[in-house]
């Protein structure tokens, strides 16, 4: 559910544009961060991980519209910079299938990219702390937490999107204490009922998080057994 299938035209143009600008800056940063030699070596891996994510997304559980993302697997195998690039490629491709709005590719990349980057860092942290040799629990917990966090980021984006530039002035009054609470509530009442949306998302998501984190753990466990260099590059 962290994958944001927000239709085109629902979010205000300013937040959609901001999403594209931030994504472009982050992509430039990621490309600059990885050396050209490493990029050339890792291109096939980016291709196969991106394709794997798309294949995962084709396996939909229709009634709840859930599918596996494998973003944390991408983060663990590719590292944060390349995983972000891979997520952008996946979002761009699936938007062409009508799977997620094409105008929200920027925002989707930020949210799912955050999932991959957080998954990588959490995996590194759990690996240090737990020292488990199978890598199942480390990757599962990393996936579970990063899904929770990325869903929260998605909700944050939806919450921010309620604030249109014309209404920033009234929010300014609210923040500075010169406005009333009803002013702020009206900002939310104009569009999506945020609390209702958040409740719906948090009711539907946990089943998906658990499924995704178990699958992530099992995939990482298998890959670690067969090709440990993909999970721990220092062993290569």
């Amino acid at each position: 559910m962290s994958h944001m299938h927000i239709p085109d035209g629902v979010l205000p143009v300013w937040i959609v544009t901001a999403g594209w600008v931030v994504t472009a800056l982050l992509l430039a940063f990621c490309i600059k961060r990885v050396s050209s030699i490493e990029l050339k070596r890792k291109v096939p891996l980016i291709g196969i991980i991106s394709a794997l994510m798309i294949v995962g997304m084709t396996l939909e559980i229709v009634p709840i519209a859930y599918h596996i993302n494998l973003t944390v697997v991408a983060g663990i195998v590719l590292g944060p910079a390349l995983a972000f690039i891979s997520v952008f490629i996946v979002d761009l491709l699936i938007s062409m299938f009508g799977h997620g709005g094409v105008t929200v590719v920027g925002l989707n990349t930020i949210i799912i990219g955050a999932e991959a980057v957080l998954g990588y860092y959490l995996f590194q942290l759990f690996k240090e702390v737990m020292g488990n040799k199978s890598m199942f629990w480390e990757s599962s917990l990393a996936a579970l937490l990063s899904l929770l966090l990325s869903t929260s980021i998605m909700l944050g984006v939806v919450y921010i999107s309620q604030i249109s530039p014309e209404k920033i002035e009234s929010i300014g009054h609210l923040v500075s204490g010169t406005g009333s609470n009803t002013n702020g509530l009206r900002v939310l009442e104009d569009g999506i009922n945020f609390s209702r949306f958040a409740k719906t998302v948090f009711i539907l998501s946990p089943l998906g998080w658990i499924l995704e984190s178990v699958i992530t753990g099992l995939v990482v466990k298998y890959v670690f057994r067969v090709r440990p260099d993909l999970i721990l590059p220092e062993r290569a």
Binding site: V55, F97, L230
Partner: protein, 274 residues
């Protein structure tokens, strides 16, 4: 998302849209999406959806399959519609229709245009790593889909996926995904190595199809401009709501006539065609 079917339709279709350049169809899709973004009129969005359905019929591809592929975003749009519920079906309908129209415009683009053509049209604005990633992802996608098909068959034959043993199924299936990753990586590395030996420089060639701009390109762009024009006029003159109804009636008539002409065999439409 049936990627293999989409690729087949894009490469084997013979409609006017298949004969247009990728760039013209990207402009068409962009214009439709722009109209969807600026429009909040239920009737206009419904008219746009009917118009897009008419175009799908003209492509002479399986209509139901394409509509089903493009309907997926409606599920998430329903969550948004439920969250925005203010007692009016029209506002909920606007959200769902926006999702359906934008998605159908993109699906029309992709079922009438082979992926390499789309990539070669957008490559000037993308950095090399993204271009190469897109190309290898596209290539790997078909390799993985074939491997997935074989894997699922293999698991079923050996009892790896059986009814009632859900935990075991998840374990086996996840190991299968891991196996796909490892095998797919080997194949992708070999493929990339071969490409480099053959002088691949990161440029994606569109295959040289439809290099000249023709009547098909003109038609695609004009349809897009008309849809955006209608959305702009209605947006600017809110009181023109009576025209929403006219557009809806027109698009519905076009849909019905196109269905009769293209889809239904042995009808007056076929006779008229002769």
């Amino acid at each position: 998302m049936d990627v293999s079917a989409i690729d087949y339709y894009a490469n084997h279709g013979v409609s006017f849209l298949h004969g247009a350049r990728a760039l013209s169809k990207i402009i068409f899709a962009g214009l439709v999406i722009a109209s969807v973004v600026i429009s909040n009129s239920f009737y206009l969005l419904l008219a746009v959806y009917f118009s897009l359905l008419t175009i799908v019929i003209w492509t002479r591809l399986p209509v139901l399959k394409i509509v089903t592929i493009a309907a997926y975003p409606a599920i998430f749009a329903l969550i948004f519609a439920a969250a925005s519920w203010n007692g009016s079906w029209v506002s909920a309908g606007v959200i769902v229709l926006k999702a359906l129209c934008a998605s159908l415009a993109m699906v029309i683009l992709i079922v009438t245009t082979p992926y390499p053509d789309v990539f070669s049209s957008i490559e000037p604005v993308l950095p090399r790593i993204i271009r190469e990633g897109l190309f290898l992802t596209y290539r790997s996608l078909f390799v993985l889909l074939e491997l997935t098909d074989n894997l699922v068959k293999g698991l079923r034959v050996r009892g790896g996926l059986t009814h009632g043993r859900y935990i075991k199924n998840v374990v086996n299936f996840s190991s299968g995904i891991g196996l796909l990753l490892v095998r797919g990586l080997d194949l992708s590395e070999k493929f990339y190595g071969v490409l480099n030996v053959r002088g691949y420089s990161g440029r994606i060639s569109g295959g040289g199809r439809h290099e000249k701009t023709g009547v098909n390109d003109f038609t695609a762009i004009v349809i897009g401009v008309l849809i955006l024009g209608a959305a702009l006029v209605i947006k600017k003159n809110g009181e023109l709501s009576v025209y929403d109804g006219c557009m809806l009636a027109l698009s519905l008539a076009a849909l019905v006539l196109s269905t009769a002409y293209v889809v239904l065999p042995n009808t007056w439409g076929r006779a008229w065609k002769k």
